[in-house]
């Protein structure tokens, strides 16, 4: 399956609602282990909420190796590449359990450094 993002979303891939629209189209296909190609030709502006919802969210139930194998991206400008790579890197860590205690520990550690 190939999806032209310019036709579906337009030249700006910014908001989470647009990301969700892409997710709903590609998630069932990727779940069947079929290949999806996203064509970004003509798309010029990018922000993380779009990619968090369209791509990052896929890692909730698709393992990273399968995603990298079955999701192809083409005609993406360098600024978009920067955002998508950061989002995938973040998403693979994201679905692990949140340890609130560890977060407080790390902030307190920072706080201790401040008061030195």
């Amino acid at each position: 399956m190939e999806l032209r993002i310019l036709d579906l979303i337009g030249p700006r891939c910014i908001v989470k609602e647009d990301g969700q629209r892409v997710y709903e189209k590609i998630h069932p296909v990727l779940n069947k282990h079929q290949t999806v190609t996203l064509d970004f030709e003509g798309v010029t502006q990018f922000a993380s909420p779009f990619f968090n919802f369209s791509i990052g969210q896929l890692l909730k139930d698709i393992i990273e190796e399968d995603l990298r194998q079955h999701l192809q991206v083409k005609n993406l400008v360098s600024d978009g590449e920067l955002v998508i790579k950061r989002v995938i890197e973040n998403a693979s860590r994201y679905y692990k359990d949140v340890d609130y205690r560890k977060i407080v520990d790390s902030i307190l550690e920072q706080q201790a450094k401040e008061s030195q």
Binding site: I14, S48, K74, S78, D79, A91, R93, V104, I107
Partner: protein
């Protein structure tokens, strides 16, 4: 204002990260306010974004409320945490937490400056690094003040478009 289309698109994308954060996290009852000015001679674009929500530190303390120590976390330390990659106070649903990190990288490469005031916290990020401190006054909300250099020399774009990108 004259900037290359690539730089204009990159600036717009990073600014969206701020607006998204303001609308998603602040809970401001009266919306988000923004203004900007371009200084032609210095080729600098100054942008300000302010919301009157609960503030970043209050948001972080509220998120960590199950730990009794959270109430005593300083605003500066909370701000510092919020600006690291992958941190978010919305742990459910789709992944989050890279917006401020992307903005930070852009500011550094651009030789720009980002200042943030939120609750008692103040932060400054520029190409020399980042610094967070506590102030004696408190602002209920969050104020971003961003200085960007509108000069493509400070932002090396890779010219190529990835025909096929390996994720």
């Amino acid at each position: 204002m004259q900037v290359s289309p690539r730089l204009r698109d990159a600036i717009a994308g990073r600014m969206w990260e701020i607006y998204n954060n303001a609308f998603e996290h602040a809970g401001s009852q009266i919306g988000v306010f923004t203004c900007g000015q371009y200084f032609r001679n210095k080729k600098e674009l100054i942008l300000s974004v302010v919301d009157f929500g609960q503030g970043i530190a209050a948001n972080v303390r509220n998120y960590l409320i199950t730990d009794p120590r959270a109430a005593n976390l300083s605003s500066a330390a909370c701000l510092h945490w919020a600006f690291q990659q992958g941190t978010t106070t919305r742990p459910n649903g789709a992944p989050r937490g890279v917006g401020l990190d992307l903005l930070k990288d852009f500011i550094r490469v651009n030789h720009g400056k980002l200042e943030v005031y939120s609750n008692e916290g103040y932060g400054i990020i520029d190409h020399t690094g980042e610094r967070f401190e506590n102030q004696s006054i408190s602002f209920e909300g969050t104020f971003f003040h961003i200085t960007l250099r509108c000069d493509a020399r400070y932002y090396q774009f890779a010219n190529e478009v990835s025909k096929n990108l390996q994720l």
